[in-house]
């Protein structure tokens, strides 16, 4: 009954959107359904927002392996998927974007999550989130994507989660959720170049090995053109602005009690930030020049997770996990109006999302 109501709701949302609000070009995203072992390819275009393909993933049909993170190669020809569970280690899987055919995989660490690919080298960096059992420092695996071989594993902090690479592919910015830290990784030497505590003055290795869990950072954006990295403090409801040059926190955007900012994305102009509020079930839109939240929209389903902005900065695509047997949902927001303009249901626990391409 509840599922029926949700479907009706999603349908009403879709029908309420006038054709005039639909774009004239097509936008494609890939979305993971973590509790269904599926990945969905969706298109938002003149005919609306629709799932164009559902790809079953995983090697053990009797076990949910948990597709968590997804990313696309810089040339757009391949997409990569992190699968959280194995026996016991997770994997990174490679698919082509034309037929969505599985090509290869590589075993990495425990619960691999967010991935980034350096446009300078083609090497992929995946955090081994490892949220199981003892809270202890984990790692980032480096994968040669041509051969799908893990070529390095770099020690980082406790529960590394969101990470993004800079535009030229030389530095990876990654957060350690339970160590309350941001790190800068040299993607050429595979070494941690700098560490930054979000909550105190701790530095270096001590920052990676300590258990803190106050800010609980879950995401880091790539640096903007102005050299700012934004970090989601899921535990303290703060979005941190970090200046890359000075390597200091230069602003704190307060998302408000109970919001739990989780994933972030920034427009290519560096002017607008979109945040999912996982705990508060909202999406926030921030003017980065003024540090003001322009709008806050309640999501149609519980537990918003990922966000990806289109290549032309017109739309943000947001995943909603849902709870239990609810389907996952992907919502589309118009960044000019900060209003939701469409939504589509996908598999259960929709999480990782990546923008693939816009056409024409």
């Amino acid at each position: 009954m509840k599922r029926t109501l949700l479907l009706v709701l999603a349908g009403l949302i879709a029908s309420a959107i006038g054709a005039a609000e639909r774009p004239q070009r097509g936008y494609y995203v890939y979305v993971c359904a973590e509790s269904d072992d599926t990945v969905h390819k969706l298109r938002f275009g003149p005919s609306g927002f629709e799932v164009v393909k559902t790809i079953a993933v995983g090697a053990f049909p009797a076990d949910i392996e948990g597709p968590h993170g997804v990313n696309v190669s810089p040339d757009g020809k391949y997409w990569f998927l992190s699968m959280a569970h194995g026996t016991p280690f997770g994997t990174v899987n490679k698919f082509d974007t034309v037929n969505d055919e599985w090509l290869a995989d590589v075993t990495v660490g425990m619960f691999p999550a967010t991935m980034s690919i350096s446009p300078a080298t083609g090497l992929l960096y995946v955090v081994n989130f490892d949220l199981h059992g003892d809270m202890k420092p984990s790692s980032i695996s480096v994968v040669e994507t041509a051969t799908m071989i893990e070529v390095e594993r770099i020690d980082v902090g406790i529960m590394p989660h969101g990470s993004r690479i800079n535009a030229n592919g030389t530095r990876l910015y990654s957060v350690n959720m339970m160590s309350d830290s941001l790190i800068e990784l040299d993607t050429f030497t595979f070494e941690v170049a700098r560490t930054l505590s979000l909550v105190d003055d701790t530095e270096g290795d001590a920052l990676l090995t300590r258990m803190s869990a106050k800010a609980k950072p879950t995401w880091a954006t790539p640096p903007t053109a102005e050299g700012k990295v934004y970090v989601a403090g899921n535990g303290d409801n703060i979005i941190y602005e970090v200046d890359v040059d000075s390597w200091k926190i230069t602003n704190k955007l307060d998302a408000g009690d109970g919001m739990g900012p989780y994933n972030l994305d920034v427009t290519s102009t560096g002017k607008l930030l979109v945040a999912t509020y996982k705990s508060g079930a909202h999406v926030g839109f921030w003017d980065l020049a003024t540090g003001q939240e322009l709008a806050r929209v309640k999501t149609t389903r519980r537990i918003p997770h990922g966000v990806a902005i289109s290549d032309d900065d017109r739309y943000a695509f947001v995943t909603l996990e849902g709870v239990g047997g609810e389907p996952g949902t992907v919502e589309v927001y118009d960044l000019a109006t900060r209003e939701r303009v469409d939504a589509a249901d996908v598999g259960k626990q929709a999480g990782g999302i990546i923008f693939w391409k816009g056409e024409p």
């Binding site: 269904d36 053990f60 049909p61 949910i64 016991p88 619960f111 090497l123 480096v142 040669e144 239990g324």
Partner: protein
Amino acid sequence: MKYFAIVFLALIATSAAAQEPAELIVEPSELNLEVGEKATLTATVKDADGNIVDRRVVFYSRRRRSAGVNPAGQVEAYRPGEHVLVAMLPKDPEDLDRRADALLTVEIPVTIPNPPAASVEFLELPSAFYAGTVVAVKTRVVDTSGATRRDVPVRLETSDPEVASLDEIGAVSFGSAGRARITAHAESVDSAIDIEVSPNPVANFELSASRKSARTGDVVFFEVSALDAAGNPVPDFPVRFATSARPAAGIVAAGAIGHVDEEGAFVAERPGLHTIIAMGGPHTAVKTIDVRPRNVRKGVEVVGQGPVRDRHTSDLWVWEAPDGRDYAITGSWGADGHAYFWDVTDPANIHLVDTVRVDARTVNDVKVSEDGATAVISREGASNRKNGLVILDVSSPTDGVRVVARYDDQLNGGVHNVFIADQHVYALSNGRRYDVVNIEDPTTPYRVGRFELDTPGHGIHDIWVTDGIAYSSNWHDGVVAVDVGGGNKGGAPNNPVMLGSYAYPSGWNHAAFPYKSQSTGKFYAFAGDEAFPYPKDDRPGAPPERAAGWIHVIEWGEWNEPKEVARYQVPEAGSHNLWIEDDVLYIGYYGGGLRVVDISGELRGDLYRQGREIALFHPNDPESFTPNAPNVWGAQPYKGHIFLADFTSGLWAVKLVDSDWKFMGEPE
């Protein structure tokens, strides 16, 4: 010749071409290193005019645990083999166009030879050698690193072919009495044994059998008596066994229908006259036995069903609750966290009495305590990713099942399987280890211990506890027995002590059921596989994916001497969960349905082929989640019935009945 590795990139000529990297040169271009040796790679970047360009080069290894390289290009050899290092020139950091690959890449082959052989030794030599007999010689090569090397060829040499001659596969034939030296050569090391070949003393060579007649599947032990002229046994007299057979009338073109192992254990797969031949030097002894059909086949009658047709069903447990009624609990898979409680007191009238919903997508496993009052269900796919387990009061499900506690401490990664024994829950944690949780007071569970292997890449899938010993199933590490209070090794729930383990080559170990045979008193672990090696069928409405794998029968008399003696393998299907009671094995065989197997007596060979299968049943349901696509998850015998959980259609109760279709085309 190859002192430089050169990659040339044809770049479009521009005025700036002279500034663009065109060549990446790495010296040396290949490496040959001994284990532990170090070297340094030097990378030079040049433009099209041959001018050196100052650019960073990235080094990495495609087999970093065997040959390492650091950012400065310093290489260290760790393990033998053929490895590849990579030097990569990244693209210009200022060029922000989308691109996938580095500008230039050079591969540097690294050869690390195996350490030389340090020793070769003879193994398991008999205490005496006799003219006219043949002995297979075993050797072992160990290299200077201490590793056993099966890849090093061993060449045997004899000092006197008249006394001891050799064949290509290492068998030594003793011709006449005398002395000879057998030398084993491996690379530059060798080892020799001086043997004395005695005249063949055997005057009496007889073959006896442990039984005069047998059914298919019965193990008959054949023994040779080799006596000298004085009637004394001849020690270590080598004997080889062989078998031939004439199948029963009506069996045509059957192929091999029986086998005998090197210890003389014989088992027939089809009825007929089976002849066992023992050979020892010039002596031969023959015995023929008449093997009859096993005739254990039963039919299956459906008694009742508790249908679950809107979602997948996972595991089941059937028990008598303190209220005196019989119940079954079933989990759900990939749905919304439901566990179902069924009154099965009358298996013909299975009815749902309660449901419990927890924050999960999958309730994979369900277990009930020995007193029938407490149940534990596992959680996977929790909305907050804090999975763990849920403890339930199931004293009287008819009056309602009550959640009494949730426990997720350090079980975030998901609890796939659980077991309850002696007021403790053994809960898998993310397929990595198991935690032991005290539930003496079910409302306040707390962890008292844990067990985790220390092998590389270890994992775990299932656990079963009986008589104070925990048997876990650990994929490549096989079945692991741990003393948690009953193993006499000082183990306890808060101090698990490993007793032994048995692994098999496929690495598919998924479940295990410990069992002491009622008919022989021997102790076994029945280890089940899980594997899905077949291609996926992604068509809408396609049946669940086809599985592979089988049941491994491990005779486990001493903890350090497990021996795999038999298997039950359905060729076209794959095993899942299993249960044993009264020398009958019940298996949820996924798409192969329910399988019921007679495991009485000694066990050898492939039980499937021996006519030991009592029954099979496919729970077809045209209205199931996937219509008519039975996929049996597990089965449990209970009070004369067999209850089974089917992935697509829910709970079933069946019973075995005399079969009215005994003739299957030929004598069974």
